[in-house]
């Protein structure tokens, strides 16, 4: 690939000379899954860049490889081919220990099914990544309260997940994802389990925290959520297609 062509591809993917350095950069990223004797090509080689402070929606039909891509950006899976760099670090080949430490400091995850620790209170859930990062008890309690009030749940800090509604649980999960001030916030169908009204609240929250400076990447079927993003990446059959 010539430099000019490569540049053309990157600039199409939102990467140009004047823009700040990308926070996420993928080159020819591919992921196969073994399936018996055959291989499922979930991701067939995608190249793109995401700049600091962007709000990206990844959209496309079911099974096109959105979650697979998000997992690779989130360093909880390994690419079969190609590379993915976050803040200039190639994360695709990291060994477990390094990858774990990297996720702790740089990645915030929000899941479709919230996945809060059922035995911990809202505040303890938010504190969990901070405790892992070795932040002192007093400091993390204070930051957890701050984050909970940011997502509008300051009054519920002592409640367990089972005592919260779905939307509230998702807001706690967002506060948890922000605990260690990650470089990027990744969300896979964050409104998938919520009704329209509650989903809209979450969409509003994503917009607000992006406005406050967080880079956000969401995978979604939700048209409202996708259209609230700055930029959409459309996928089909494991590749990026023009929108």
């Amino acid at each position: 690939m010539t430099l000019a062509r490569e540049k053309a591809v990157f600039s199409w993917a939102g990467y140009d000379d004047e823009a700040p350095p990308p926070v996420v950069e993928a080159r020819d990223l591919a992921r196969d899954y073994p399936f018996g004797a055959e291989r499922v090509h979930a991701l067939r080689g995608v190249t793109f860049a995401i700049t600091e402070g962007e709000y990206i929606a990844i959209a496309g039909p079911s099974g096109c490889g959105k979650s697979t891509l998000l997992n690779l950006i989130g360093v909880i899976d390994h690419p079969t081919r190609g590379e993915v760099c976050i803040r200039g670090q190639n994360v695709g080949g990291m060994r477990d220990r390094e990858a774990t430490a990297f996720r702790l400091r740089n990645i915030g995850f929000v899941f479709q099914r919230f996945y809060l620790m059922p035995t911990l209170s809202a505040r303890e859930n938010v504190e969990l990544p901070m405790a892992e990062a070795g932040i002192a008890r007093v400091e993390r309690a204070a930051r957890a309260r701050e984050l909970l009030s940011y997502v509008g749940l300051e009054a519920r800090e002592r409640h367990r997940p089972a005592q919260l509604s779905g939307g509230e649980q998702q807001r706690v999960a967002i506060a948890r994802a922000l605990a260690n001030r990650p470089a990027i916030l990744l969300a896979d169908e964050p409104t998938g389990e919520l009704d329209a009204k509650t989903g809209a609240e979450i969409i509003g929250l994503f917009g607000r925290l992006n406005a406050d400076g967080t880079t956000v990447i969401v995978v979604t079927h939700d048209e409202d959520l996708a259209s609230s993003a700055h930029r959409k990446i459309h996928m089909r059959d494991g590749v990026i297609v023009p929108g």
Binding site: G74, F109, Y115, M117, L128, E132, A133
Partner: protein, 395 residues
Amino acid sequence: MRFTLAWASLRRHGTRTLLAILGVAVAAAMLLDMVMMSTGMRESFRELLLSRGYQLRLAPKGTLPFDTDATMESASRITATLRTNPSIVTVSAVLGGTIHVPTGNRVVTSAALGVDPAVQGDYELLSGRDPVGSNSIAANDEFLAATGATTGDTLDVATGYDPQLRTYAGSMRLVLTGRVRFLYGAANQLATVMRLETLQKMGGADRTDDASLFMIRVRTDAEVEAARAWVELNIPDVSAISTATALAEVDKRLRYFRQLAVILGTVSLFVGFLLVTTLVTVSVNERIGEIAVMRALGVSKKHVVQQIVIEGVAISLAGAIGGLALGLVTAKYLNGILSSFPGLPSAIDFFLFQPKSAWTALGLLTISGIAAGVYPSFRAASLPIATTLREDAIA
């Protein structure tokens, strides 16, 4: 946070945790009892043998004290020879025999010891006086109960009963001076004690200078072995037995008990281990998704494993502490049963509590608790995160 999570997850299934702790407690109690049993009997024997400070015992050549009815003749000569050794500070000669005491229309048969009350190491006076006079006798509670006699009573005492002729070799009137407890007595055994000369005289002409046993106190423990060798050299017709030799003999006889203890102890440890492993495995399997989420959030494998190991150890420790109490109660009960084992001094404790046993049992259980947690947690923490989350979302 690891402790918070471990505690929360134990509390989440409170009943299950409690049942597991109870199970471990039962296994721990058994383990403690078996550890107590395997070390207790020997230690208890040692304490008994050394309770009056006699480190050496002389018995007829080739026998153990009171193992047979054999006696050593010319006790006075042996005593005199022993006194010539400056290491030997006390010599206590003992003769064992059987006496018959007619009470009402029946005859009570009892063991009798002839001793020198001044240096004896066989009994402990409970009330009254030692049988110092040549017409005195003291007896244990079992004898007093069987004869109905009390201190101050005069008893007709006979020895050498001939069942064919229905006659006695010797007979005397003795005054009961005191109530005693015999250190080496078996449970429910009737026993009496009198002066050595008194029992010798009742035995007839051929027993006037007999002894069954000599108990010897040597100046220092360091001199025991030398004194033992000296005795065997200078008094050829006796066997000199040191505490160490006696214990070796005891060890040999108690080997079956110890083997049983080791086997049952191992089994109970294994049962406890399996119980904790089962519980931890079940609890890890239901939390596979949670563990994958924690890993995705950046919690290290090490910390996931630690959290789960803490749970295993907590169950083991709580069980062990409960088991300690349970074990002591059952040991006391079992000791009561085994103390009446025929032929063994009732003062022997089969289950002797030594803090070391408790620590051993506790330590073994803690190790098994750690072992129980490590494998399932490491396996769960090593699962591929993305795939596990996907599968968990479907389940």
